[in-house]
């Protein structure tokens, strides 16, 4: 029998996995928050990017907790809206748009393969870019575009999801480094973009959690500040 709500319904096991990944991102942001705050020189040097991302991801985890008991047909839409409403600061609002785009394109039940991941990141990119008249280069948006490009490049290759995410993290590291030269303000301050650094912290945490790697911070590979 067909169930009109099946496509938006999220199974308990999937929700538990998403929650585990979100929690890994939250813990990583808690560790990296001050470092991200310290990078925040653009657009307003008020040093709150790390805090804004942390509060936004904390709200996201709370929304997942609240949803755990109910598998409503409107779960995806309600969840995405709640995160948008609770987002903090510019970087938090953009992150919540990325989450909305990814959630809208996520497959209903089958595992996330190359094409599905590419579709999720393309939708995330489109959502992120949809709400700004003139996107500035060297921001979290530039990183999002490169992640989406990388997922599309790899979409037909056969590889486990862990390896796919590892490739995205690697591309993300390069894209983050490029923000120094994409923005004059960042170049003069000698830093990478704070919002992009925060998004990469989240992605790296998710990739590690999925791969089952121990969460040991490899400071040398973070390259958040110029050496």
């Amino acid at each position: 029998m067909s169930d009109p709500g099946a496509e938006s319904r999220v199974a308990g096991a999937e929700l538990a996995l998403v929650r585990r990944l979100a929690l890994a991102a939250l813990e990583a942001l808690e560790r990296e928050r001050q470092r991200i705050d310290g990078l925040n020189v653009y657009p307003v040097p008020d040093g709150d990017t790390g805090l804004n991302l942390l509060l936004t991801v904390r709200a996201l985890v709370e929304e997942l907790d609240a949803a755990e008991s109910s598998a409503a047909a409107t779960f995806r839409r309600d969840f995405a809206r709640s995160v948008l409403m609770r987002a903090r600061g510019t970087s938090g609002v953009i992150l919540s748009q990325i989450v909305r785009g990814a959630v809208e394109a996520a497959p209903a039940s089958e595992p996330v393969g190359g094409r599905a991941l590419a579709a999720m990141l393309e939708s995330a990119r489109a959502a992120a870019f949809s709400a700004v008249a003139r996107p500035a280069e060297g921001t979290i948006l530039s990183l999002m575009r490169e992640l989406s490009d990388e997922a599309r490049r790899l979409r037909r290759k056969t590889m486990p999801l862990e390896q796919r995410l590892a490739a995205l993290v690697e591309r993300g590291e390069q894209a983050l480094e490029r923000t120094r030269t994409q923005s004059r303000v960042l170049g003069e301050a000698g830093v990478v973009d704070a919002g992009a650094a925060g998004l990469l912290v989240c992605l790296r945490a998710v990739a590690r959690e999925l791969a089952g790697e121990p969460v040991v911070e490899n400071t040398a590979s973070l390259r958040l500040v110029s050496s």
């Binding site: 987002a87 510019t90 609002v93 870019f129 949809s130 700004v132």
Partner: protein, 117 residues
């Protein structure tokens, strides 16, 4: 057109037009996340308020500095208060950075909400 004093020197005043300040504010608005358009125009409070069709009004504040009114269209689905707060902080930072004038007051008026492009 209204001219706002930047500096008073022995050789004379340095002035900047409110139009120039509005241009700076407009450029900054275009890059504000959540802003997908400019409003129909700021409320006209004085006869010499300018560029009403572009949604930015600039007037000299009585106690020095400038007052800005920004009329914007925001992307549907976003938290309006959060976007308005970031617009205020970003535009006033940019106007202060470029002109050196104090931004005494910023009013953000959300004229409309629509789906992003």
């Amino acid at each position: 057109m209204e001219a706002i004093q930047l500096q008073e020197t022995a050789l004379g005043q340095l002035l900047v037009s409110s139009r120039a300040i509005a241009q700076v504010a407009e450029r900054s608005l275009d890059e504000c996340y959540g802003v997908v358009g400019l409003g129909r125009g700021a409320r006209i409070r004085r006869a010499f308020a300018l560029r009403r069709r572009h949604g930015v009004e600039v007037v000299a504040a009585e106690q020095g500095g400038v007052e800005l009114t920004l009329a914007v269209v925001i992307a549907y689905g976003l938290n309006l208060a959060e976007v308005a707060a970031t617009v205020r902080s970003r535009v006033s930072y940019e106007v202060e950075r470029v002109t050196g004038l104090e931004v005494a007051r910023v009013e953000v008026r959300i004229d409309d909400v629509r789906s992003g492009s």
